[in-house]
């Protein structure tokens, strides 16, 4: 029977399990994020560097092409921690740009239209709502971070002599876990910005500012006051320190692993607090 003839009937059948319900929000958020053409374009641009890296790996593994080339150049062609850290540095910039474009549209429209009361009057907690939105953004950022990183590692492993993979497993761990930490931090910044700033352009600028301006300020603080606590407000340096530690490379001069971890924990905590303060079903004026 046509739906307009049938009339409204109360649903009395079985309900979906909790996990299935929770996946509704990330799916919806993903639809919202991936529907933007500029985001698709930026993802395409973000794939250029991984493709160049793949070409580099191919070339470096075909030494017959470089017969007669001096040792220094052969050293430059080596696929090691420095190669993957460089790859991560470049892709992390793209991931921030992507978050600045896609992130502001995730929470701000719900807040702007007072839609949170509609979500939170259903069996969904604020934590689940935040995680759902974050999951959509993290999946988007994964497309340009750890997924191509892992593919490059596997490509190198497949082209290298047996045993390379076992000997360099920390590189894979550094790429995957390092990028997971990075993607989580970027997504948190983007969500917090989306929750506090209504205008998309400004929210995007806040995301860029958080990573690039704050990092600049951190470097300036260290340089001017000859201290090291400027690293605590430098998300790029703190994350890079963690990646180095995970990939088994030497940490940047003046940065210790505990400082990097403390800085990241502080940032994560403050961003989560900022989100928590904003994601309320109703505004309460005390």
């Amino acid at each position: 029977m046509a739906v307009y003839k049938r009339g409204y009937q109360r649903y009395g059948g079985p309900r979906t399990p909790r996990l299935e319900r929770l996946l509704v929000l990330p799916r919806e958020a993903w639809r919202r994020v991936s529907g933007q053409r500029i985001v698709t374009a930026l993802i395409a641009v973000s794939c250029i560097w991984p493709l160049l890296c793949a070409l580099f790996i191919y070339v470096s593994n075909h030494t017959e092409l470089w017969a007669g080339i001096d040792g220094d150049f052969r050293k430059f062609l080596a696929i090691d921690a420095a190669f993957f850290l460089t790859f991560m540095k470049v892709q992390s910039v793209f991931s921030v740009l992507l978050a600045a474009l896609a992130g502001p549209g995730l929470i701000a429209p719900d807040l702007g239209n007072q839609g949170l009361a509609l979500y939170f009057s259903r069996p969904i907690s604020r934590l689940e709502y935040s995680l759902a939105k974050m999951a959509a953004l993290m999946w988007l950022l994964s497309l340009v971070t750890w997924i191509p990183g892992l593919l490059l590692f596997l490509m190198q492993a497949s082209m290298s002599p047996a045993g390379w993979m076992a000997a360099h497993w920390r590189l894979a761990a550094g790429v995957v876990f390092g990028f997971w930490q990075w993607v989580a931090l970027v997504a948190l910044v983007a969500l917090a910005s989306s929750a506090w700033v209504r205008w998309r352009l400004i929210a995007g600028a806040v995301v860029l500012g958080y990573f690039f301006v704050l990092s600049g300020i951190g470097v300036l603080v260290n340089a001017i006051f000859r201290v090291e606590w400027g690293d605590l407000i430098n998300p790029l340096r703190a994350s890079y320190g963690l990646w180095c530690a995970m990939a088994g490379a030497e940490l940047p001069r003046g940065l210790s692993l505990p400082t990097a971890l403390l800085a990241l924990a502080l940032m994560g905590g403050l961003l989560a607090l900022a989100l928590e303060r904003r994601l309320r079903p109703v505004e309460v004026v005390s």
Binding site: L118, F120, P123
Partner: protein, 329 residues
């Protein structure tokens, strides 16, 4: 024993340092009976705070609130699975079409994906948005958005629907439609409905029970159905002619009355007395009836009394005068 829809036990709610609800205790509605409960009170009385507490948005600072037998604080998820909420504020997701909005809301409430889509269409037709269901919500008029908010509250077929100011800002025809939908929800679909409103006429039209709040306290809880039955017993009569014997004639039938000369009577009829009998009684006295009205503005009187703006209702005035006449206190 029948399960109340809402059960409050000495409920206190604080927002910041300010206490908004000061120890409310009551049992409202009966689960599964399809009754509508009106929540009335002036601005700042605590109606919205009470609703938000039932939804788990605010935690009680003391006491307990239970909805359909589940504690709003400890069993919040179970409570929310069983209720639908239409907020007072203009809440919507601007970028979604009507169908998408309802499909997502239905799926979040536990409808399987295909059924969520089917119910989204069905509900939009039901509330009268069938033709606009593929338009984005941002393009809807205020009245349409109000209907969309109602639709999202019922798409998953909840046991209890909480409507916060459902007729606010609606034109008369949209208001009538909204009230009709509320009536259908309780009478045809067996949902319990809580209507929070400051429009007494709306509440009177659709509600069977009413709770009145003032300054965060419950000042009155009434069964409107019983009140209506009671009201049918109170009439105002205006006659022409010599009515000196009418009082005695009415009293002989068991009615209590007050005479307000010339020719005006306020009468409380006994339970088994049909108002039509008054015509015969007046004719027997040789009187012509110029006016015979039954009391209508009950809820307004109840409300005014609860607010302390009126000492007693006309029916009670007659009863008290009668008591005084018989040497009562």
């Amino acid at each position: 024993m029948s399960q109340p829809v809402v059960e409050l036990e000495d409920l206190h709610v604080k927002l910041g340092r300010r206490e908004i609800l000061h120890g409310i205790s009551c049992r409202l509605g009966v689960s599964g009976r399809g009754r509508a409960i009106g929540l009335l009170g002036p601005n700042g009385a605590g109606k919205s705070t009470l609703i938000r507490t039932l939804l788990g948005f605010h935690a009680p600072s003391a006491g307990r609130a239970r909805v359909l037998g589940y504690d709003c604080r400890t069993d919040r998820r179970r409570v929310l699975e069983r209720i639908g909420y239409m907020p007072e504020t203009d809440s919507f997701i601007a970028s979604m079409t009507g169908v998408e909005f309802l499909r997502v809301m239905g799926a979040l409430s536990g409808l399987p994906a295909e059924i969520a889509l089917e119910k989204a269409h069905e509900t939009l037709f039901h509330v009268g948005l069938g033709e606009a269901r593929y338009r984005t919500l941002g393009t809807y008029s205020l009245g349409m958005r109000q209907l969309a908010r109602l639709a999202q509250a019922i798409v998953h077929g909840p046991e209890l629907v909480i409507l916060d100011e459902p007729t606010n800002g609606l034109d008369p025809s949209a208001r009538r439609r909204m009230l009709e939908l509320i009536r259908q929800m309780k009478e045809e679909h067996g949902m319990s409905v809580i209507v929070c409103s400051h429009l007494l006429a709306d509440v009177e039209q659709v509600c069977d029970e009413v709770m009145i709040l003032k300054d965060g306290r419950m000042v009155h809880h009434a069964d409107l159905e019983a009140e209506r039955r009671e009201n049918r017993r109170f009439v105002e009569l205006e006659v022409e002619g010599d009515d000196s014997g009418l009082g005695a004639a009415l009293e002989s039938k068991g009615a209590a009355c007050v005479h307000e000369p010339p020719g005006r009577w306020r009468v409380v009829l006994p339970p088994d007395f049909d108002a039509a009998e008054l015509w015969k009684l007046a004719a027997a006295q040789g009187l012509s009836v110029r006016r015979l009205t039954q009391r209508r503005d009950t809820l307004e009187e109840i409300f005014m009394k609860a607010m302390g703006l009126m000492r007693q209702s006309p029916g009670e005035a007659v009863a008290s005068e009668e008591t005084a006449a018989h040497g009562g206190l």
